[in-house]
Symmetry: C2
Subunit: 395 residues, 2 copies
Amino acid sequence: MFPPDTPARVERAHRSIVPIYAFLETYQAWKSAGRDDACDFALGNPHSVAPEPFVSALRDAVTPRSADWYAYKINERPPRDLVAASLRDLTGLAFEAEDVFLTNGATGALQIVFNALIGPGDEAIVNHPPWFFYDGMILNAGGLPVRVATTPSTFDLDLAAIERAITAKTRLVIVNSPNNPTGKVYGEATLAGLSEILTRAERKHETTIHLVSDEAYRAVVYDGARFVSPAKFHDRTIVIYTYGKTLLTPGQRIGYAALSPRLDGREALRRMLTSSQILCGWAVASALMQHALPALEHLSPDMADLQARRDRLVAGLRDGGYETRAPEGAFYITPKTPIADDAAFAGDLARLGVYCLPGSVVQMPGHLRISVTANDAMIDRALPRFAAARAAAAG
Amino acid sequence: MFPPDTPARVERAHRSIVPIYAFLETYQAWKSAGRDDACDFALGNPHSVAPEPFVSALRDAVTPRSADWYAYKINERPPRDLVAASLRDLTGLAFEAEDVFLTNGATGALQIVFNALIGPGDEAIVNHPPWFFYDGMILNAGGLPVRVATTPSTFDLDLAAIERAITAKTRLVIVNSPNNPTGKVYGEATLAGLSEILTRAERKHETTIHLVSDEAYRAVVYDGARFVSPAKFHDRTIVIYTYGKTLLTPGQRIGYAALSPRLDGREALRRMLTSSQILCGWAVASALMQHALPALEHLSPDMADLQARRDRLVAGLRDGGYETRAPEGAFYITPKTPIADDAAFAGDLARLGVYCLPGSVVQMPGHLRISVTANDAMIDRALPRFAAARAAAAG
C-alpha cells in the first residue's frame, strides 16, 4: 500500500484519512451510476450557481491596475487591514493587521499554525466528533492528536475531560464553533471555563497551550443562536477563518489565521507563521483573491434561505420518523439512523438517489450527516425518500 | 527570537531563510526610500502590466458554467489531461493524467513531494548555488539538505561529487534546469550520467532515490540552448512545474507535480501525493486556475523580448567593466562584483537607484543576481549606473 521508504509520519497521517477516501470513492460511484434526480447532501458543496456578487468581485479583481498586480504576494496590506478591522468589530479586541496571515482557506491556515507549533510527539487536543482532517493534519505535522469526546447528546465541550487530557506535551486545543459536524455553537460559560482550564494548565506545566479557534462557519448560525469567538475569553487564541463557507465557494479558497492582540509574545510567533507560509509550499492566498477580499468581506450567506432549508429538512426528517437535533449553526443535520450500520443505511438511501455522509466517517456512528447546501428541488424530492428508506429499514 | 516551545525542526528551517528575510527587508527599505526612476532587478517579478491573453483567460474562467464551478476541487480531469498531453509532447514519455497533481505553483508541488518522501533524518541532495527555499523546505519537512557544489565556472552538475554525497539515507536529488540562479541548462550527457549514478546508488543501498526535476524555467531558454527534461533519462523522476515563470505572474499561482510513467510503483505514490495535498493544508490549485489552465497552457513567454533584454544587459554590463556569463536559460544574469562584499556593492547600486540581489543570499558570494524581468526603460537607465558603481568601487 505504501511506497518503499515512506516516512512513518506520512503513513500514520494517511491511514487516518483512509475512511474518508473510501467514502469519497463510494460517493463518486454513486454519482457515476446516479440518477438525474439525485439529491446530494453528502458534502458542504454548492448546488446552485455561485452568486453574482461573488462572481463580480472576482471579475473586477482580474483586471490589473498596476505592473505588480500579479507579482509575488505574501500578506498584502489592504486585505490585512480589512480583516483586522472585521475582527475588531467581531470581538471588540484590538486585532492588528500584522497579525493576519492570508492563506488558501482555513485548511491552509491550520497548516501554517500546526507547522509552527507542533513538534515530534507534541499533543493537540481535538474535540470529537471532529472535522475530517484535524487528526490527519496533526499526525502529518509530526504530532499526536488527543481525542476528547464532547458531552453526549448536547455535544457541548466536556471541560473536565479536556482538563484531564492536558499534559506537559499539549501544544494546542482546537475549538470548532459552530461545529462541523454537530452544529453546536459553544456558549460564553463554556468558553470562559475552557480559558480557565488552559490558563491553569499552562501554569502547572510551565508551557504554552494555544487555543486554535476554527471559525469557518461563524457566519452560519440559526434562530437565536449567537456566535461568540473564543478570542473574547482566552488570550492565547489563534483565529482561523475561511470565506469558503460564508460564500459557499469552497474551491476558490481564501482564508486566514489571525493572532489575538492579547497573545503574549506574538511578534515572535508572527515570524514563525510567515516562515511557515513560505516553507509549507508558499501557503499564501493568490493575488486575485487578495485583491478581491475587500469586496468579499462584505458579502454574507443567504441566511434566510439556509434557515428555511434547515427548518424544512429538520421538520421533514422528523415527520419521516427520524430523531434529530436542529443544528444551531454550520451546514449539517445529523439524524440517527434507524439501523446501527450507518454506512449500510447511507447505501440504502443512495439506491434511492439520496446521498448522505455516513456518520461513522466523522466519528458519529449511528448517524447521518446531511448538508443543508442542497438545493430546494433536492429537498422536495428527498423527503419522501428519506421516509421510505426509514420505513423499509425499520420494517 | 523564537516563541517558547518552538519545535527544533521549525527553528532550523526558519534559520535557514533568515538571510533571505534580511534581504527582503533591505529591499523594502530601498523601495520605500526610493527614487521614482529606480531600476528593479532584485526578484523575478513583472515590471509591466500582465499580458492581455493571461488576463482574458482568467476573466473567461471567472464566469461559472455550472453549480459546481466553485465547489471543492482536488485534481480535476480536464487540466490533468492537458498537462499529461503537454508532458507527452515534451518528453516523448507516456505521462498519464492520474499522475498529475495540481498545486499553487512549483513551491506547492515541492511541498507535497517533500512531505511524501522525507522523514526525520532523511537526506535530500541540493546542488549549489540553489533556489532560495530548497534547504528551508527540506528542513521544515524534517529532513537534512546535503549541499553539493556544482562545477566552478561552468555551474554544471558535479556528478562525482553527487555520487560521493549519496548515502543510505538519501531520498531525493533536486535538479533545477534551467537553473536559478546560475542560468545553466544541463545537457543530455550530464543527465544520462546522473541517472547512472542514481540507479547504481539505489542498487548499492537497496533504497529508492527520486530525481525531483524543478522545471519552473523550462520555457525560458536563450540562443541555441535546448531544455531537456531529466525524465527522459531517469525513470524515478518527478517533474515540478509552475506557470508563474512562463507567464511572469508569480502571485497568481498554478503549477504541478507529475510522476514519470516509468516510475516504478507510482500507484502507491499517487495516494501519498493526494494525501499530502489534503493534509498539507489543501495544497490544491484553485477552481479558477484549474478552469483557466487549458487557456494558459498554450501561452508562451515573449522570448524575443526576454532574449533582447538578456543580450542588452549582458553586453551593457560587459561594456561597463563587469565579468559575466550569459545565462542559457531562466531570468538571471550573475556578474562578478568588483569588490568581494557583494551586499555592500548591492548597497552602492541601491543608492544609485538600482536594486539587485547580492549573490551571497543564494550562495553565490562575490556576484550579483540581476533579473531580466525589469522593463526596457529600467535597463536604459541602469546601464550607466552599473558602470558608474563599478568605476567608483574599483576607484
